[in-house]
């Protein structure tokens, strides 16, 4: 009799728990096997993602490498008049007046070519020579390092530099992560700034989007395939979290409440007995 009663409660418990157990078992298998094959990519996603969010993106972009100078134009220094300029360069377009370190300059284009002219004496300053480029870079650079060297890039820029900026002077500084400023030869402006952590960031991004070609394409089939599997791997993982973490908390919470109730009931009963 007693045995039968135990059996009955056991089967009852089984029938109640049968369905959730099936989901648990399926999720367990799915999570275990999927992660065997794509778990490595999860590690790559978390490491590359962490790199990208831990380092401030403005720092990665090199924004802290240069100042934006606020030196104002003194109109009285424009002793070479714009009229004289237009007479000398009748095809000048997109004229601008600005500063080059601390002197007033005219910048303009003729066809697609950019020019800089000293606004005090009309002397052409472009194409910039090496020492001027180095002076500009030193003037704008925020670090304390010295200039290591400068080199002229006219063709075949490396992948971090857009071809439309050419020609440029690459000025290298002696500081952490090897910062470089790129100064346009024809207009004297900083067109790009890079340091090693930027190149590392670029690699992290490629690994993050699983692009092993060289066009930084997020819409690649490898990513689609792995991410689709990853969805099921994560979903099954969440089901395991429910069974292994959330449900035990609920059950133990309920047990605690029940036992607390029982204790309370006992206490009230004993009080009742006394009275």
């Amino acid at each position: 009799m007693e045995n039968n009663a135990i059996k009955a409660t056991q089967t009852k418990a089984k029938t109640i728990r049968k369905k959730p157990l099936k989901i648990f078992k399926l999720s367990h298998k799915l999570h275990k096997w999927l992660m065997l094959f794509i778990g490595a990519q999860f590690v790559i996603w978390s490491v590359t993602g962490a790199y990208m969010v831990f380092f401030d993106i403005d720092y990665i972009h090199g924004d802290s490498l240069i100042v934006s100078p606020q030196s104002k134009i003194k109109a009285e220094n424009l002793t070479y008049s714009s009229l004289a300029l237009f007479q000398h360069y009748p095809r000048a377009k997109n004229l601008s007046v600005g500063m080059l370190i601390n002197r007033e300059v005219y910048r303009f284009n003729i066809a697609k070519q950019a020019f800089i002219i000293d606004a005090q004496n009309g002397e052409p300053l472009s194409p910039l020579n090496k020492s001027t480029a180095m002076n500009i870079a030193k003037h704008l650079y925020t670090g304390d390092g010295e200039v290591l060297n400068a080199k002229l890039i006219t063709t075949n820029p490396h992948f971090g530099l857009s071809a439309r900026h050419l020609p440029v002077w690459q000025v290298n500084f002696d500081n952490f992560a090897s910062p470089s400023l790129y100064i346009s030869v024809n207009n004297g402006k900083v067109v790009s700034k890079r340091h090693q952590l930027w190149y590392l960031f670029d690699w992290m991004f490629r690994l993050h989007i699983m692009d092993y070609g060289d066009d930084e394409d997020v819409s690649n089939w490898l990513l689609f395939f792995i991410t689709s599997l990853a969805f099921f791997a994560v979903f099954s993982g969440l089901i395991l979290t429910y069974f292994k973490v959330i449900k035990p908390i609920i059950i133990s919470g309920r047990k605690n409440r029940d036992s607390a109730k029982k204790v309370r009931r006992k206490k009230t009963l004993s009080f009742g007995d006394k009275s």
């Binding site: 996603w45 134009i73 007046v97 990513l223 689609f224």
Partner: protein
């Protein structure tokens, strides 16, 4: 040691499991969406940066303009709606979308020009080739939900079309900030989720993101060790599958 690894994995998954699902789902969406559409430029046409045919000498000489505006950092000849202007930069940041300050001066009359509502509407319309008409206009102070990175007050010109296109024109400079529409907003929503930018600050270097990335490292490392453990114990058997 293994019990600890398992505990770390389970508790980390409780803390950030839902966000991991959001990361994977939004990642999958970036993979499949049409990135050209997501740029929001469906009804944008390039305004040919046509320099007005006006001869340089017909403009006010730059020296006289600069004398009137002594706090100028840079003067640029620009054309807005094919009319010649001088754009005077009064405060210059590293990028145009950072906080800058400008004056716009008519290059013929020397008159200080403000980008008011009709002017902004005209600039927006010139960049738009869709079927809609202007529905509403508003001057928006940053943050601008469609362009969180732009820190300058801008006119929002809304068009009544199938994509709910909005065109943004910077108040200070008359520059076209860009177009936005429902396709771009759809993608932006998932970027917000992927970057955990729940405060809409337009950045992924936020405290919650850094914290979650840190916990993710623990989750993935413990998962990796657990998988290797199962492998070593020979518990990956096809029979068990």
């Amino acid at each position: 040691m293994m019990p600890w690894i398992k505990k770390i994995h389970q508790w980390a998954s409780l803390l950030i499991g839902l966000q991991i699902l959001i990361w994977v789902t939004s990642g999958l969406i970036f993979n499949v969406i049409d990135h050209k559409k997501a740029r929001g430029n469906a009804y944008r046409q390039t305004v040919i940066a046509e320099q007005s045919t006006l001869a340089n000498q017909a403009r006010l000489p730059v020296e006289s303009v600069l004398k009137l505006y002594p706090a100028t950092l840079e003067l640029n000849q620009v054309s807005i709606l094919a009319q010649p202007y001088y754009l005077l930069t009064q405060k210059q940041a590293l990028y145009r979308h950072f906080v800058n300050s400008y004056h716009i001066v008519d290059a013929i009359t020397g008159e200080l020009t403000l980008v008011d509502e009709p002017f902004a509407k005209a600039i927006a319309k010139a960049s738009y080739n869709g079927p809609g008409n202007i529905k509403s206009v508003a001057l928006i102070a940053p943050p601008i939900a469609d362009f969180l990175k732009n820190k300058n007050p801008s006119w929002q010109i809304n068009f009544a079309d199938d994509l709910a296109t909005s065109v943004y024109v910077e108040q200070g400079s008359g520059r076209l900030v860009g177009h936005s529409n429902s396709d771009k907003r759809f993608a932006d929503f998932f970027f917000m989720l992927h970057f955990m930018d729940y405060g809409s600050v337009g950045s992924f270097n936020t405290i919650q993101m850094i914290l979650f990335a840190f916990i993710t490292l623990w989750l993935m490392l413990s998962g990796l060790i657990w998988t290797l453990h199962i492998l070593r114990k020979g518990q990956y058997r096809l029979k068990n599958f």
